[in-house]
């Protein structure tokens, strides 16, 4: 006889070998990396945007900015000048990412946002020199940079969101398919003559999850390498921390969804019915995904906060808020605690119903019938 842990491991090992040998695993990793490379190398998301807005207050500042628009070609930017009332307004715009740069003290100081195109500051410096040309060898303007990496972090959060969404959905469906494969081929009957339903369930979820985690690590490492090599992404400690955040929330989200997908799969007997029975779960992941986008722009909003506490959406919204930087430690801990309770409840429920459901062939098994 084998112990429970050993049974779980033997089942998990088979899943890892089967999924690892499957060509689709390698293909999906490659496709994800290609998409990632495209996202990173496209100018809109990380740095490199050639269009830039410069906020100005006062005639001197405006003259400098206008001059900059005449020489901007040299610096590979396209500057749009925006007039505002005073220096405070300039600061506000740049601080809120509504403008890439601004001129303070009537053209005496440059302020620039984190994600501003590279050419903005040199263009403004050169323009200022031109305007002040009568003075002998004018000194360069002082430059103030606002939160240098805010934009890069948003990019990271967005990439993490897209990758996490793909992993949760893809591997969840894989679990459901795997369960139905065993049920449809009736191999489950031999398995359950040997091991407990719970061991089979956990082994399967664990094995497929480890493949998903490994793939996620590969994607994260690949993405960092592409980003660093492109020179477009600043990779500091805050950015590197996005990787463990993403991995940890994949583990939590996957544990929750995979058990639910396994239970869904155990209700049907044919591969064709998997889609129908897992639709509610797919919708939950899809909805969480789309609702998470606003958290990238405004991680501190009440809406984002609420979503990051709800178990179905937390695994997508919370990592976004953490990476962008809008979630307090207490919030993260509460969200994790709620998620753990939800995972425990799902695993317990699935473990109880799985064995009964998976042996009933024929028409779709009713959840209510199992509970009664």
């Amino acid at each position: 006889m084998i112990g429970g842990r050993q049974a779980v491991w033997i089942v998990a090992r088979r899943e890892i070998l089967a999924r690892g040998k499957d060509k689709t695993t390698a293909i999906s990793t490659g496709v994800t990396l290609v998409i990632l490379a495209a996202i990173i190398l496209l100018p809109s998301l990380f740095g490199g945007a050639s269009k830039a807005t410069v906020a100005v207050a006062g005639p001197g500042a405006e003259r400098t900015a206008q001059t900059a628009t005449r020489i901007q070609k040299v610096f590979d930017v396209k500057i749009k000048v925006r007039r505002v009332a005073d220096d405070a307004a300039v600061r506000r715009l740049v601080g809120a990412d509504k403008a890439d740069g601004g001129l303070l003290a009537d053209g005496g100081k440059v302020i620039v946002a984190g994600g501003a195109p590279d050419g903005v500051v040199p263009a403004l410096q050169q323009a200022s020199r031109t305007v002040r040309a009568r003075a002998p060898d004018p000194p360069p303007l002082p430059v103030e940079k606002l939160d240098k990496n805010a934009n890069d972090r948003k990019g990271f959060a967005l990439v993490a969101l897209i990758v996490l969404y793909g992993q949760l959905l893809g591997y969840g469906i894989w679990v459901a398919n795997g369960v139905v494969e065993e049920k449809a081929s009736r191999i489950v009957e031999i398995l359950l003559a040997t091991i407990r339903p719970r061991e089979l369930l956990i082994g399967k979820v664990l094995g497929i999850g480890l493949v998903g985690l490994g793939q996620l690590l590969l994607i994260a490492a690949g993405g960092l390498v592409i980003g660093a090599a492109s020179g477009k992404v600043h990779i500091g400690s805050a950015e590197l921390s996005a990787v463990p955040i993403m991995l940890a929330w994949f583990v939590g989200g996957y544990a929750l969804y995979a058990c639910a997908f396994a239970l869904a799969g155990s209700l049907v007997s044919r591969q064709e019915d998997v889609q129908a029975v897992s639709t509610p779960l797919i919708m939950a992941i899809l909805a969480s995904f789309f609702l998470s986008f606003q958290a990238v722009d405004d991680p501190g909003s009440t809406f984002s906060q609420v979503l990051s506490f709800l178990p179905p959406s937390a695994p997508l919204v919370m990592p976004v808020r953490m990476i962008v930087g809008g979630a307090g430690t207490a919030e993260v801990l509460i969200s994790v605690a709620i998620l753990l309770v939800a995972i425990y409840a799902t695993v317990t429920l699935a473990g109880r119903l799985y064995g009964a459901a998976v042996l009933q062939t024929g028409s779709r098994v009713k959840l209510r019938g199992l509970l009664g």
Partner: protein, 282 residues
């Protein structure tokens, strides 16, 4: 010995098993016979722990069955199941390990068994690439790979060609000679009659007859006589209790020349029909 003792099981309003009792001795090839829906598969599933019983008990060597005991059972369900995309050899090793074998002995047992079943050259093939007959052999190998003490096989002969039947029968006999208890269900009654040391016939979840086929036959043939007069067809005459068959013979001789007069030895199929009809009539 496997003891099935008063098993009951209900599915909603239907009663699948209704106090089923019989036992399978070690070293015996035991046939399990009954109509579709009589409860054979349910009983087998309960023995394997795949289903739970509502009442009654199953014992192996006098003790209640638990996980530890079940690891030494081999099972072939009626609806065959293998991982279609997994290699034959790997699949056997996987199931051997689930039954508690270490990696090396599991690989050795798998190799040996594939050799015995004549499919060692297919060890590296995916199951889905095999013919149905070979898939059936792999299915049997899965049940045998951990060298079980008890084999429970649901319709193991269905779908086999005559040569396949012979190979399977020989493999099963080999096991019983080694002391293994083999319980198998089948609708092929001539086959059961030819192979089995003993049978159990069930109907509507209850045992209606069990024992050696020869004993069952002797019991049933007590009142039945085959009688043939010259130039006439053979008839089977059933005598009422206590009536002497010699009187029947005398009466027949009065009618003509008797060319055949013998005790009727019914085939299993006839015994089966009789007991099942008697049960249905009751």
């Amino acid at each position: 010995m496997l003891e099935i003792d008063g098993l009951t099981r209900h599915f909603g309003a239907t009663t699948a098993l209704d106090g089923l009792t019989f036992s399978v001795p070690e070293g015996a090839l035991f046939g399990f016979v009954g109509r579709n829906g009589a409860g054979k598969t349910t009983a087998m599933r309960i023995v394997l722990g795949v289903l739970s019983a509502d009442g009654g008990a199953v014992r192996w060597r006098g003790e209640a069955i638990d996980r530890r005991t079940r690891a030494r059972f081999g099972y072939m369900p009626e609806e065959r199941g293998l991982y279609p995309k997994m290699q034959v050899g790997e699949q056997l090793v996987h199931f051997a390990r689930l039954h508690g074998l270490q990696a090396a002995p599991a690989a050795k047992a798998a190799d040996h068994l594939l050799e015995r079943l004549g499919i060692s050259d297919r060890a590296g093939d995916k199951v889905e690439a095999l013919s149905l007959g070979n898939q059936q052999r792999v299915q049997l190998a899965v049940a045998l790979v951990h060298d079980p003490e008890l084999l429970v096989l649901d319709e193991p002969f269905s779908g086999l060609d005559p040569l396949g039947v012979d190979v399977l029968a020989e493999v099963l006999r080999e096991r019983t000679r080694a002391g293994v208890a083999v319980l198998f269900s089948s609708h092929q009654l001539e086959l059961v009659e030819r192979l089995c040391d003993a049978v159990a016939i069930i109907e509507q979840g209850r045992l209606v007859a069990d024992g050696k086929v020869s004993d069952l036959r002797a019991k049933a043939s007590r009142h039945r006589w085959e009688l043939q007069l010259e130039g006439e067809a053979l008839e089977v005459v059933e005598l009422p209790d206590g009536q002497d068959e010699q009187a029947l013979l005398d009466e027949a001789r009065g009618r003509g020349r008797v060319v055949r007069f013998a005790k009727h030895e019914p085939p299993l199929a006839e015994l089966f029909r009789d007991v099942v009809e008697a049960k249905a009539a009751a």
